[in-house]
């Protein structure tokens, strides 16, 4: 029974109990016993506090007012905090947080993640970007319609805006969004895109390849992009600790594993093009995961500094 009074009382109890003495806890017990509905309201308040604890580190803090060196930056940062004019940057779900480093002056800024770290970035009111580990992205202050993925993997959830569509740049390639959820992986030599919902345009001013939900695209270096089908429900599954593949080259799989595990996982060039179909659960012990992948593909694992290399079976490590 969520009446106003009960809610306010539950909140007061939660605040009081943080530094509560035994007498407070005894009085709290009596309050709970007064109405069986009160426990559930207190639960809501306490769980909401836990939600907030998870979210608070991701919110930008306006720098201290007495920090002269960041006078200009401060005025820029403060605006999103007030929540008025500028797209607001929020970051980081899991792992260690760091405020985004300012690069290229004030206008552009970079967000990067360590391997194994995830961050969540909110861009404006409707756009969310989840950044996988080992990734780097550039955003423009005050512009919620632009992002650039330099390297790594990100899942984009974009609200369609007819007048001002969201545009993502990936090296020399561009994606224009038409209201959608899509995943992008940028490695030094390739770009991989998978669309979970909606539609995107790949290089709208060039090839203008239209991709709909359940389609993906792969471009290696400057070769022609190749469109293939993907499991739309598995797009962005890395956020849940799952990597799903359908006939993917092993080189892609190990690149994803490196990002996810925070380890250096590689494939010997003789097996880099082996095809893999299946699902990897990355919450497991990294070594066990790499070993099971090797087992599935009948490969051998070699330990290298800070990671593993997958090799053809029966060859001496060279």
């Amino acid at each position: 029974m969520a009446d106003e009074l009960t809610i306010m009382e539950a909140i007061q109890w939660r605040l009081r109990l943080r530094a509560g003495l035994v007498e407070d806890w005894e009085a709290f017990t009596i309050w709970l016993e007064g109405d069986p509905g009160r426990a559930a309201i207190y639960d809501e308040v306490a769980l909401a506090e836990i939600d907030a604890d998870e979210a608070l580190p991701m919110l930008q803090v306006p720098p201290a007012a007495n920090d002269d060196h960041h006078e200009h930056a401060r005025s820029l940062w403060r605006t999103p905090w007030i929540g008025a004019l500028v797209a607001t940057l929020i970051a980081a779900l899991i792992g260690l947080m760091a405020l985004p480093r300012l690069t290229a002056g004030d206008e552009f800024y970079t967000i990067s993640t360590a391997k194994g770290e995830h961050r969540l970035v909110q861009l404006g009111a409707g756009n969310m970007i989840a950044l996988n580990g080992g990734s780097r992205m550039t955003l423009r202050r005050g512009d919620e319609h632009f992002a650039s993925l330099e390297v790594g993997e990100a899942l984009f959830s974009i609200r369609h805006n007819e007048q001002n569509p969201f545009e993502l740049s990936i090296g020399d390639d561009r994606i224009r969004d038409v209201g959608t959820r899509f995943n992008v992986i940028k490695d030094p030599s390739s770009v991989r895109i998978a669309v979970g919902e909606g539609t995107i345009l790949f290089n709208p001013d060039g090839e203008a390849v239209k991709l709909v939900a359940g389609q993906g695209l792969r471009r290696i270096r400057t070769a022609q992009p190749v469109v293939h089908s993907v499991d739309s429900s598995a797009v962005g599954a890395w956020r849940k600790g799952r990597l799903a593949y359908r006939e993917a080259p092993l080189a892609d799989v190990v690149a994803d594993l490196s990002r996810a595990l925070g380890k250096r996982v590689s494939a010997d060039q003789r097996v880099a093009n082996r095809s893999f179909t299946g699902v990897l659960q990355i919450e497991r012990d990294p070594a066990a995961l790499v070993n099971s992948l090797a087992l599935l593909l009948d490969l051998q694992v070699r330990s290298v500094p800070d990671g593993w290399q997958l090799m053809p079976r029966g060859r001496a490590a060279d």
Binding site: A2, M8, A10, I11, L15, L17, A19, G20, L21, V22, D24, W25, E26, F28, T29, L32, E33, P36, A39, A40, Y42, D43, E44, V45, A46, L47, A48, E49, I50, D51, A52, D53, A55, L56, L59, V61, W81, I82, G83, T88, I90, L93, Q122, A125, M128, S157, R181, E197, D231, S233, A234, A237, K240, R242, A244, Y245, R246, T277, G278, V279
Partner: protein, 187 residues
């Protein structure tokens, strides 16, 4: 208080803690489990504790909250598993359905938006309280306001947070029912 002392104190406080857990809405069986966990924790606590009785209450309360949270997670997992099993493709994992992924994303986004929508001073008080770990007295000093003003800020922040959580829980409940109905029709 020494380690053995806390375990001993636990034994004398056991009836009061049981009463607290039952008032907290926990079933009798679960309350016994929680007390068992609590006893083990009480015997392994290192270092002195200032208010050992309040400490035991707080640990009990945290264990109840842990259970509430993992119950929600378990429900999510079971649902994901059932959906994965009802699919016919082997390569489809138990990834979240698009709707559920959307809900999860919206949940986080909603919490963030709720926090962002707080008035600036309220948000500052909340940050000092939860992130910096300041007491209400310290916040009052730092912000140059009265203790009751700090309380008002925190109450307002908690009210928004709780309303956000209640709204999302209600939406999740609706989705669950929708899924259950869908599953039945499919059979």
């Amino acid at each position: 208080m020494s380690e053995g002392g806390l375990a001993q104190l636990f034994m004398t406080m056991r009836p009061a803690l049981l009463r607290f857990l039952l008032a907290r809405g926990v079933s009798h069986g679960d309350a016994e489990d929680i007390l068992q966990d609590l006893f083990i924790k009480a015997t392994t606590v290192a270092g002195p504790i200032a208010e050992p009785k309040a400490y035991l209450y707080r640990m009990a309360d945290n264990l109840v909250l842990d259970r509430s949270r993992s119950a929600v997670r378990r429900k999510d997992r079971e649902r994901a598993w059932v959906e994965a099993r009802s699919g016919d493709r082997l390569d489809v994992d138990d990834a979240p359905s698009p709707e559920r992924a959307m809900i999860a994303r919206d949940r986080m986004a909603d919490v963030l938006q709720t926090l962002q929508a707080l008035p600036q001073r309220t948000a500052l008080a909340l940050r000092l309280y939860r992130v910096e770990g300041c007491s209400q007295q310290q916040i009052a000093e730092q912000m140059g306001i009265s203790l009751s003003a700090v309380e008002k800020h925190l109450q307002r922040a908690y009210r928004s947070m709780r309303d956000c959580r209640a709204r999302l829980d209600a939406e999740m409940g609706n989705l669950q029912r929708l899924n259950d109905q869908g599953g039945q029709q499919g059979r």
